[in-house]
Symmetry: C2
Subunit: 299 residues, 2 copies
């Protein structure tokens, strides 16, 4: 089994109270792919420029990530520059250079077209839709989005949501999309727009899962060390979709477990800069924290 | 078995986006007592003025709350006036009139002196200490506090903490008392000051329990309706201590269950103004939401 992801591969410059680093490997599809690779095969669709370090491509391959969908274009790789203060729940974007991402028209390689599990990371909802048209019979489709698309392409986004099994977004985005301040109400409004399930991510406060029949709430894994929250949401999605990618049929009890795996991966990820921690995990460490999560929350 | 509480009985004027009410029954010991009364007998120690409506005293009695420790003094009852905006996590205090509470010197009636479970709600830490001196052999003692005492009576407060089994405080208070922004680190610093256990309350985001050997984290119960968060922390403490009040020996697995009962009571309480909802509960409704809590969080 495998999971397909379409999103960004980037070079990030990040400053937090714990350090400052330039041109780190980043991007939604990167975090997603590495996290998902601990559970299943990953098929990556993204675009990079000629300046993208070859060693990062080798890195993807080392994690058995299929890079046949990774286009190399003339120009520079997408760059994001951000800062975090002590309240690490919100990033301040200092600069965004779209570069080759600006003209990205994702093409799904022939070999990927029968993938059953698909994750559409945060990009233009029109592009997200165009990807779906290229996949023959997807069985479980999830998407992420951001405030920019809610504000500027709401109609396209709502059209997309009708085709989703699962929509992931953060608390501020859920409030903006639904027009509801209360998150449970917001989730129900989003469900009424089409997706079978919604997950509202609340940063260090965990997340809220809502479907037509069920609600499930997960606290954040308590951590003493948080050095860089960049990519936490995409890592969460990678752990979640990677775990689900192992099953032909996805039911809600599997999604609950997948949410915990996503939370485990995200909690590891924020402990060090960029992908430093994520790259050093293994299934033993992942399952250890999964068990800790149970001890921490069951009564 | 029974639990003793020392704290305030007040008349509150509260404004939220959902309404405005004057001279409502309030106060930390009030919320605590009603919540705890669903589990065990409650012994109340507080002070009121001659203006305190008799019907509220009858109300306490109806809930089998022992009011022999409720002093009636010449003067007016303590009054608190507060406002909440849409972000209901923080109250804005508009006015505080201490009135008879200003000269409160709690005297524990002879009949209360052998109580095993004691809750010292948020009052001057010197008074909290003076209460302990009047109890012969308490077995489980918990306290709450607030920023004012952390800023103005830190030494007394730290002295008190050494004698506590459990210290309850909110996230901002935990950060202020410990000097640590990270809540897990803050909890550990507080544990190092003396109490066996600490619970950091995070409003709608639930709470974090830490002891020397264990950590336990609970999300807030997802609610669509939040009309008045006044008293949520004291209701939480009442549910928690009320449940524990049924046991001779308190161990950490009982505290975990007690935290859920506390969360259940608090979640009901915020659904209506003042004590309106809290007064209409019963064990069936409480156990129903307890079970829902399990469904919402177990995986």
């Amino acid at each position: 089994m495998s999971v397909l992801v379409v999103g960004s591969v980037a070079l990030d410059s990040v400053q937090t109270p714990f350090g400052r680093h330039k041109d780190l490997l980043g991007g939604s599809a990167t975090y997603f792919s590495i996290a998902a690779s601990y559970f299943t095969d990953v098929r990556l669709v993204a675009v990079i420029g000629r300046d993208f370090p070859k060693r990062y491509i080798r890195l993807f391959k080392k994690y058995r990530i299929d890079t046949r969908g990774l286009e190399i274009k003339d120009g520079k790789t997408f760059r994001w520059e951000g800062e975090y203060e002590y309240d690490m729940n919100t990033a301040k974007t200092v600069a965004t250079h779209l570069n080759v991402l600006g003209k990205f028209r994702p093409k799904i390689p022939k070999e990927y077209r029968k993938t059953k599990h698909v994750f559409l990371a945060n990009i233009d909802p029109d592009l997200q839709k165009s990807i779906l048209r290229q996949i023959s019979s997807p069985q479980f489709i999830a998407c992420d989005t951001m405030n920019f698309w809610i504000e500027n392409k709401k109609r396209s986004l709502i059209g997309l949501l009708k085709e989703m099994d699962l929509c992931l977004l953060n608390d501020a985005e859920a409030r903006e999309l639904s027009g509801e301040a209360n998150l449970l109400k917001a989730a129900k409004v989003i469900i009424s727009l089409g997706p079978r399930m919604v997950i509202i991510k609340k940063g260090e406060h965990g997340c809220l899962f809502v479907s037509k029949r069920r609600c499930f709430t997960v606290p954040g894994f308590p951590l003493e060390t948080i050095h860089d929250p960049t990519g936490a949401g995409d890592t969460f999605a990678g752990g979640l979709m990677g775990y689900l990618g192992r099953f032909d049929k996805v039911d809600e009890s599997k999604v609950k477990k997948a949410i915990i795996y996503g939370s485990v991966l995200a909690s590891y990820n924020v402990e060090k800069f960029s992908l430093k921690k994520l790259l050093r995990l293994n299934r033993r460490l992942i399952d250890k924290r999964y068990k800790e999560f149970k001890k921490l929350t069951h009564f």
